[in-house]
């Protein structure tokens, strides 16, 4: 079975912020005050990024005539899935990297989905394995479609 792990909500939130950051490229140098402008409001549009001296600000934060350089840590933004914080790397005013520092991790949020090829349990395999199946869930069948269905067989097998 082929398995690949996909990150979902964290990635989605990250992408959302990435998209929200893009229009800020040119104006990034202006957002220079420490944690300046952090409205903290919900919504993707409020992800302001400011140069930050504390944790994560590994690179130098220089602003030259050709644009911002360095690593910037964004404010924590409250999304509908929970708080998200990203760190972006800029080179000459261009976004070269994004790192998600904080992503929702409460119960049931930020869950990784497993991807695989479609598994198949044939009736023969189920019978050979003596696998008890109580009922079947699937796309709604018609009254006619029920006849001859696995569910119909299970209903007849009672007693």
């Amino acid at each position: 079975m082929r398995r690949a792990v996909l990150t979902t909500s964290a990635t989605v939130a990250g992408v959302g912020l990435l998209l929200a950051l893009k229009p800020h490229h040119g104006g990034l140098a202006a957002a220079s005050g420490p944690s300046g402008g952090g409205s903290g409001g919900a919504g993707s549009g409020s992800a302001t990024v400011a140069p930050h001296g504390s944790s994560g600000a590994s690179g130098s934060s220089k602003t030259s005539g050709t644009g911002a350089n360095g690593t910037y840590t964004g404010d924590v933004v409250d999304t509908r899935y929970g708080p998200v914080q990203v760190q972006v790397t800029m080179k000459r005013g261009k976004l070269t990297g994004v790192k998600v520092l904080q992503a929702p991790s409460e119960n049931g949020r930020d869950r990784r989905l497993a991807e695989m090829s479609i598994p198949r349990l044939t009736q023969a395999a189920l019978a050979a394995g003596n696998a008890r199946i109580d009922t079947v869930s699937g796309a709604t069948y018609t009254s006619e479609g029920y006849i001859g269905s696995l569910q119909s067989a299970l209903d007849k097998a009672h007693g």
């Binding site: 049931g108 349990l121 696998a131 008890r132 199946i133 869930s137 796309a139 709604t140 007693g159």
Partner: protein, 262 residues
């Protein structure tokens, strides 16, 4: 027919354009037997009130404007209220006005099946399963110490399964390209939903799970992020490009070493 320990009482009802199967594992009593009759009667009543195929149903007359909501039975308002709630929860992906006409069919079946399940439970049938055309509400267990095992139908191979979900007090709803021929339309785009062949959601209450499955299926690929962020809901999806995905908390029965599973 239903002896204690492994006995089953099964009743199959053709209603609402599909088939509803009741499978009671609690030893039968006269009270449970009456509740089965009441549950069957209840489904026929719901069909009469909510059927969009019957011009004289309250829903049809409400849609035609020949009946006001005040004049309808209280359950009509209850179902429309549930529709509004799910529509909000799904950012408009669930609709009870497809094509501009009142049609809460996406809510009615799961709601009616859970309602029927409640009737059985209240009559003492603590262990039972209701399968409404492929949407399942199970209560209690399938036998002493045996959680229910619910197979997920393979969308491409009739009679085969993909995997088996297990649990007590569990609701499982699958939305897909229906045998009834109707394709689910994404109400936001107005186009048939693409990206998914089937979407199964697992939770506690079928009313909720069934409506969410309809909404999620209409989302196509976007359903992944949506369901993964939903507390208390697990999911199994099959994509149009031949892949499957699942949330990590999906309660799967792994076969306990028996052959043919994997």
């Amino acid at each position: 027919m239903a002896e204690s320990g492994g006995g089953r009482e099964v009743r199959v009802v053709h209603v609402m354009g599909t088939v509803v199967s009741f499978d009671v594992r609690t030893p039968m009593t006269p009270g449970i037997s009456r509740a089965l009759d009441a549950a069957e009667e209840r489904l026929r009543h719901v069909d009469a009130v909510f059927s969009t195929y019957r011009p004289d149903s309250e829903i049809s007359r409400l849609a035609d404007g020949t009946l006001t909501l005040d004049a309808c039975r209280p359950e009509v308002g209850e179902v429309l209220g549930l529709c509004a709630r799910i529509a909000e929860e799904s950012d408009g992906r669930f609709t009870w006005t497809p094509g501009g006409r009142l049609d809460p069919s996406g809510m009615v079946k799961g709601w009616a099946a859970e309602d029927a399940s409640d009737l059985l439970f209240e009559a003492g049938a603590t262990d039972h399963c209701v399968n409404a055309g492929g949407d399942v509400q199970a209560r209690g267990s399938a036998g002493p110490g045996l959680p229910w095992r619910i197979g997920l139908a393979h969308p491409h191979h009739r009679g085969d399964l993909m995997t088996v979900v297990t649990g007590t007090d569990i609701a499982v709803a699958t939305s897909g390209t229906s045998e009834r021929g109707g394709h689910i339309v994404d109400p936001r785009s107005g186009h048939p939903a693409t990206g998914l062949v089937s979407l199964t959601l697992v939770g506690r209450h079928l009313t909720h799970v069934d409506a969410l499955a309809t909404a999620g299926f209409a989302m196509g690929d976007a359903a992944r992020a949506w369901v993964s962020a939903m507390p208390g809901i697990e999911a199994f999806g099959v994509t149009t490009d031949g892949h499957a995905w699942q949330t990590p908390g999906l309660p799967l029965w792994t076969g306990g070493g028996t052959a043919g599973l994997g």
